[in-house]
């Protein structure tokens, strides 16, 4: 199947980045690594340009919110090497109140809307993004709804009170 193995990728990454990139594991076969926002663009650029790896295809950018962790917001990148047919997942965790990370639009044009979506739902500030606006939610929304502290429904809703249903 794939022409390079996860072990070879780990070897190349640790040789170049040392302890700047932490290998998390291989859940369900996909190599997962963690890095810092200082190293992220250099790391993504290395994965994209390296002659042996060629992770040239940006599959997805999203985020996950972990309110119990010290660094609450995890930005998750999925890259795909179409040449070697292997995927990699990269995570960067950001502390609350300091949720910014360099934009990947310098590497991929397609990162534009993915980062806008991540900003829209998690409030991640992508520094250097050409047009960081809300994309799916209304412009005058003040919260970032996919963060865990926001419930699915507004608890102040009055149109679903029991007396409307004769209860």
């Amino acid at each position: 199947m794939s022409k390079v193995t996860n072990e070879e990728i780990i070897g190349l990454i640790t040789a170049k980045f040392g302890d700047k990139v932490i290998i998390e594991g291989e859940p369900y076969g996909m190599l997962t690594v963690e890095t810092s926002r200082e190293a992220i663009i250099e790391f993504l650029g290395f994965l994209k340009e390296d002659a042996a790896l060629k992770f040239g295809f940006l599959t997805d950018i999203t985020a996950v919110h972990y309110p119990d962790l010290e660094k609450q917001t995890g930005v998750v990148y999925h890259l795909h090497s179409l040449v070697n047919n292997i995927r990699i997942r990269i995570k960067v965790f950001l502390a609350d109140g300091d949720v910014h990370i360099p934009s990947a639009t310098v590497l991929w044009d397609g990162a534009n809307w993915m980062e806008r979506e991540t900003y829209d739902f998690f409030g991640v500030d992508f520094v250097g993004h050409p047009d960081l606006r809300r994309i799916l939610n209304v412009d005058d929304m003040t919260v970032f709804p996919m963060r865990r502290e926001y419930p699915l429904e507004d608890p102040n809703r009055v149109d679903k009170k029991d007396y409307f249903f004769g209860r």
Binding site: Y28, D131, M146
Partner: protein, 403 residues
């Protein structure tokens, strides 16, 4: 890439005019708004506004048990719901490490390829409508109806199918289903040939589509394009071939690619994909005959909802039924990314599970969303009428765009 609104000049001397294309314009086939600045008929710049039918599926999914997320996936790309349903089931099966019997895989392939055909029928038919040829659309709609009748046989629904379960299908496929599929395989090639003879060498159609919105493979990859529009540029990336799921590796099929990445190539690629889909359905029908005809789900009682009559008469089934419905089933903690080749691109599911009742986080990698972001930049310098057919050839579905 400059994507900002640029309509700041209120210069009365300006010759440019602003046009609101959408949100509900008959030519946009959905709620898409593009604010275009026009110089005569030529587009100078444009800004896309999306999110008109955003329904917060990712948030809802964090509050639903796994089996209740299937209906949400229906409403992503509603032109080919079964692919979304199967993609979601397979994501959960990957998380739970469920191995499916071959027959289930092949049945899924039949359903998914029928869905792909129905999606391409709509896309290519509408492309014909937008270039002024209504006939092809009407001819092809008949076959979409046949596909929907096939869906009805297995799940009772037509558009939002909610077909299948985690671990297989809710019931075995009946003989009417198979006879309808066989009849479809005989009838559809004739219809497709007729459709192609209306368009493929039609001077007007070629003039309207050839060289329009041509995209280079480098640009397409940089914008993370997937699906037929990427393959039209010449990149042979197809999830079914690269990362086979649901036993696609057992099938003999080709990945059609274009050369110029224009609207005409996208049209041809989709037509060719329909033929490949028929090939696969034909092979699946033959391979199923060698499998045990009573198998339609994996033997995983702790995850697969048991049939109702067993729930009433069998203690174990009652327990499992209760545990599944009440969300008491143990699920492994972990994160999984699974993608399927949707009708318009790579449909990915990024699932983070904390062992609870619902996903901790579920993200849909929606091809429409990612493919559509190039629409405004690529419209620059294009004629308005070309921008319209470009939009229909991208096969962007509003439900998937806005999730």
């Amino acid at each position: 890439m400059q994507n900002h609104p640029v309509f700041t000049d209120n210069d009365p001397q300006s010759e440019l005019s602003t046009l609101n294309l959408g949100p509900t314009h008959p030519a946009t086939h959905g709620v898409f708004q593009n604010v275009l600045q026009l110089d005569g008929e030529r587009i100078v710049s444009g800004v896309s506004t999306i999110g008109y039918i955003h329904r917060a599926f990712e948030k809802i999914a964090e509050h639903r048990p796994f089996y209740q997320i299937t209906p949400l996936t229906d409403r992503l790309n509603y032109c080919s719901s079964p692919i979304n349903n199967m993609g979601w089931h397979m994501t959960v099966e990957k998380l739970l490490n469920i191995q499916l019997p071959k027959r289930v895989d092949y049945l899924r392939v039949i359903i998914m390829e029928l869905a792909r055909i129905s999606d391409h029928i709509v896309c290519n038919g509408v492309l014909g409508v937008d270039t002024g040829a209504f006939t092809g659309f009407l001819y092809m709609m008949e076959f979409r109806e046949h596909i929907y009748e096939i869906y009805e046989e297995i799940c009772g629904s037509r558009l939002t199918t909610n077909v299948g379960r985690i671990g297989g299908f809710e019931r075995n496929f009946n003989e009417i289903f198979f006879s309808k599929v066989r009849k479809f395989l005989v009838d559809f090639p004739k219809g497709l040939a007729e459709f192609e003879s209306l368009f493929n060498r039609n001077r007007i159609f070629i003039d309207r589509t050839k060289g329009v919105a041509a995209v280079s493979p480098e640009t397409a990859l940089s914008y993370s394009w997937t699906g037929p529009i990427l393959r039209a540029t010449g990149v042979d990336y197809d999830v079914r071939a690269m990362n086979p799921y649901s036993s696609y590796q057992d099938f003999d099929f080709e990945v059609p690619v274009g050369t110029r990445g224009d609207v005409y190539d996208r049209f041809l690629v989709r037509n060719e994909e329909m033929k490949q889909s028929m090939r696969m359905i034909d092979q699946a029908l033959k391979m199923i005959e060698k499998e045990d005809p009573t198998i339609f789900h994996a033997d995983v009682p702790e995850y697969y909802l048991p049939p109702k009559e067993e729930v009433y008469n069998n203690m174990e089934a009652l327990i499992y039924h209760f545990k599944i419905v009440m969300g008491e089933v143990e699920t492994p903690v972990g994160e999984v990314y699974h993608s399927v080749e949707g009708a318009n691109g790579e449909l990915g599911f990024y699932l983070v599970n904390d062992g609870g009742r619902s996903p901790y986080r579920l993200h849909f990698r929606r091809p429409s969303f990612i493919n559509y972001q190039m629409y405004a930049p690529m419209s620059r310098g294009m004629l308005l009428s070309d921008a319209i057919i470009n939009m229909s050839s991208l096969n962007v579905i509003a439900g998937e765009l806005d999730a």
